[in-house]
């Protein structure tokens, strides 16, 4: 009896090993110091470490659910899409918003969460611009300002699109922490960041230099669902990832991961 059990166990293990796919996973970093580091070795003092940790944990859970052996690379946002296209990465965890341009390049998983974009700046700068503009600062009213945004992001694409008309100077940074650094050093007046990222960064800023400026925006591709990206031809992988997302949302795993890193759960 024990012999049969052993054979069954060995067969199951072997079949599991044979089925286990090797996946290369890219996780977006928020600070240059986090590049090329593994999740559990991330310096917790670096800006946005929580965001990287939650993304990392989510990626590991999905890998576990799809029975894949994943190797993780922590890279700047702008490297993920080219990496997926070139086959260097199988899955890209960067909370990607949908856009027609990206649709041509990569495939999307089902949504992970929903996001919007919001300007961040110093209160004094906001007041100065409000006076100059004659109205409260918002993305709709902003004109003649230097605005930082994450390189390769929807925010940067949007700003590039209106820069000429609004006389904006767009500063692309490789990480979100760098965008805040630029603000801190008066290299830019505002930064346009995803709300969750913005919150994670300014709420951990001990000096409390920054505030959200103007209302949040979801129009112009600056908000709504955030996704994992993967190569367009990998349909089976996409189905498996979607299945895993549905599972972790249904059984509460996703909620627990979020609650470990964020004080509120927004869905």
């Amino acid at each position: 009896m024990s012999g049969i059990r052993a054979i069954v166990l060995i067969t199951a293990l072997l079949s599991g090993l044979l089925q286990a796919a090797e996946l290369k996973v890219a996780v977006v970093v928020q600070d240059p110091a986090q590049v090329s580091l593994q999740g559990n070795l991330l310096p917790s003092s670096t800006p946005g470490a929580d965001l990287v940790a939650v993304t990392d944990e989510l990626a590991r859970e999905i890998c576990r659910r799809i029975k894949a052996r994943c190797s993780f690379s922590h890279v700047p946002f702008a490297e993920i899409l080219p990496g997926i296209e070139e086959g260097r990465f199988d899955l890209g965890f960067g909370n990607f918003l949908r856009s027609p341009e990206r649709e041509k390049r990569v495939a999307y998983s089902d949504p992970l969460f929903r996001s919007s974009s919001r300007l961040i700046g110093k209160p004094a700068t906001a007041r100065t611009f409000a006076t100059k503009l004659g109205q409260p600062v918002s993305l709709a009213s902003l004109r003649g300002a230097r605005v930082a945004a994450l390189e390769g992001s929807q925010q940067q694409a949007f700003l590039d699109g209106i820069a000429g008309e609004r006389e904006l100077a767009v500063l692309a940074t490789s990480t979100t922490a760098e965008a805040l650094d630029v603000l801190r050093k008066n290299g830019a007046d505002f930064a346009l960041l995803p709300i969750r990222t913005g919150y994670a960064l300014i709420s951990r800023d001990k000096a409390q230099h920054f505030v959200f400026v103007g209302p949040a925006v979801t129009a112009h591709g600056l908000g709504d669902a955030a996704h994992i990206v993967l190569a367009k031809q990998k349909n089976a992988l996409r189905h498996a990832v979607n299945q895993a997302i549905a599972e972790i949302k249904a059984d509460g795993t996703y909620l627990r991961i979020m609650q470990r890193h964020f004080p509120v759960f927004l869905d």
Binding site: S116, R118, P215, V264
Partner: protein, 424 residues
């Protein structure tokens, strides 16, 4: 066999095909109606699953996020340090920036106003913490409005499902009515089918069965009421024809039997038929211990008659003899032409004495009877007869004894009846 009459009657196959076609059409119509209702139910279920449930979840998420907004606002007022207030305010801004709130106009306005009120409160509290207490009542009113909106959203979400569920319930009720209609239709059709089968198939078949089982040449040809189905009518016709054929066959059989059992010249039964019947009669008489007698008679000088007047004259004598004999014996007596001018007799239920009287009377009558020959000449012919009791011996023995008695009658001068002596 198809007759001209049958060509005007519907065949059973065609009649039932029409009936089945009508039923199929009606049932198909009901099934189509049910399919429409089923489609409606499936549509409602799919709409519930694809649109309504996600919409309900959206309402619930929005309500939860607004509740979170209210909760974080409350936390800002209860925070002790400016840092904690700022953290609570950041969370308020995070929640107020969520797409679920931004895409709902009423919630978006409320969140924007709430955020603005809390930002201003925080700004004032930086200068004078007492401001928090002063602005708290207004916050309670804002918080109450948020909570009312949360309640409204939850109710709206629940109401979305009610519409779809009511639609499904309506469709199910309609389906139930249609199913009932289908049931009545099927039941009605089955009853109609049974009635038609009984009237046009089962009862005619029973009548045919009864007619066939009692079909006899002694009975009249069976009569059937007019059948509507061609096949039934054909079988009824065939039954009538069968009866007529049976009657005709029976008549032919009887004629053949007559020809086989009778002597062609005299019309009396022949020797074979006599022997068969006599054997049976003797067995029956002996079984019931009843008297029975056999006799053998022979026309006297018949050969000489033939030689003198020709065979035609002999035939006339034989026919005359047979005619007289038929008039003289009882219905139950058997007489046959035993061969040539020899005749055999069987007298059931008669003692030797009774039979003797009978044959003696006949002998006398025949002897006195003038027979007109074909030439016109009148002649008289006599007969010698030997009688024997057959009550206690087999037929052949009894005939042998009768034959001895006949011989004795011839020897004693002819034209007489001699009774055989009792058997030892």
């Amino acid at each position: 066999m198809a007759t001209a009459d049958n060509q005007h009657r519907p065949s059973a196959g065609k009649a039932f095909a029409i009936l089945a076609g009508v039923f199929a059409l009606l049932f198909g119509a009901v099934v189509a109606l049910l399919a429409v209702t089923q489609h409606r139910v499936l549509d409602a279920a799919e709409r519930l699953q694809r649109e309504t449930v996600p919409e309900i979840i959206r309402f619930q998420r929005l309500a939860r996020n607004l509740d979170q907004l209210s909760h974080e606002g409350e936390r800002m007022f209860s925070s002790v340090t400016p840092e904690d207030r700022q953290q609570a305010l950041f969370l308020v801004m995070l929640v107020a920036s969520h797409p679920s709130i931004l895409e709902h106009s009423q919630a978006a306005v409320m969140a924007r106003d709430t955020e603005a009120y809390l930002v201003e409160t925080n700004r004032l509290a930086m200068r004078d913490p007492a401001t928090l207490r002063m602005r708290y009542p207004e916050w309670l009113r804002i918080s109450q409005r948020i909570n009312l909106l949360v309640d409204d959203l939850l109710v709206q979400g629940a109401n979305l499902a009610t519409t779809d569920l009511n639609d499904m319930a309506d469709a199910m009720r309609a389906a139930r009515l249609k199913l009932l209609g289908a049931l009545i239709l099927v039941g009605g059709f089955i009853l109609l089918l049974i009635a038609l089968l009984k009237q046009h198939l089962i009862r005619p078949l029973q009548r045919i069965d009864h007619a066939l089982s009692s079909l006899d040449v002694g009975r009249p040809t069976p009569e059937f009421p007019d059948s509507r189905l061609a096949e039934i009518h054909a079988v009824e016709d065939a039954t009538g024809r069968l009866h007529k054929a049976m009657v005709s066959n029976e008549a032919a059989r009887r004629e053949l039997e007559l020809l086989a059992n009778r002597d062609g010249l005299t019309g009396l039964i022949n020797r074979r038929h006599f022997m068969v019947n006599a054997e049976a009669e003797i067995r029956r008489a002996q079984r019931y211990e009843r008297p029975i007698v056999v006799a053998i008679g022979d026309l006297d000088y018949f050969k000489r008659l033939n030689d003198t007047y020709g065979h035609g004259a002999g035939d006339v004598v034989l026919r005359t003899f047979a005619g007289l004999l038929s008039e003289s014996v009882r219905q139950s007596d058997l007489v046959c032409r035993y061969g040539g001018e020899e005749f055999a007799f069987l007298f059931p239920e008669s003692t030797v004495e009774q039979a003797h009287i009978l044959v003696e009377r006949f002998r006398q009558r025949f002897a006195e009877h003038d027979i007109q020959l074909p030439s016109g000449l009148l002649v008289r012919v006599t007969i010698s007869i030997g009688l024997a009791d057959a009550s206690h011996c087999p037929l052949d023995i009894a005939l042998q004894r009768a034959d001895y008695a006949l011989y004795e009658a011839k020897r004693l001068g002819r034209n007489r009846v001699i009774v055989a002596a009792e058997a030892d």
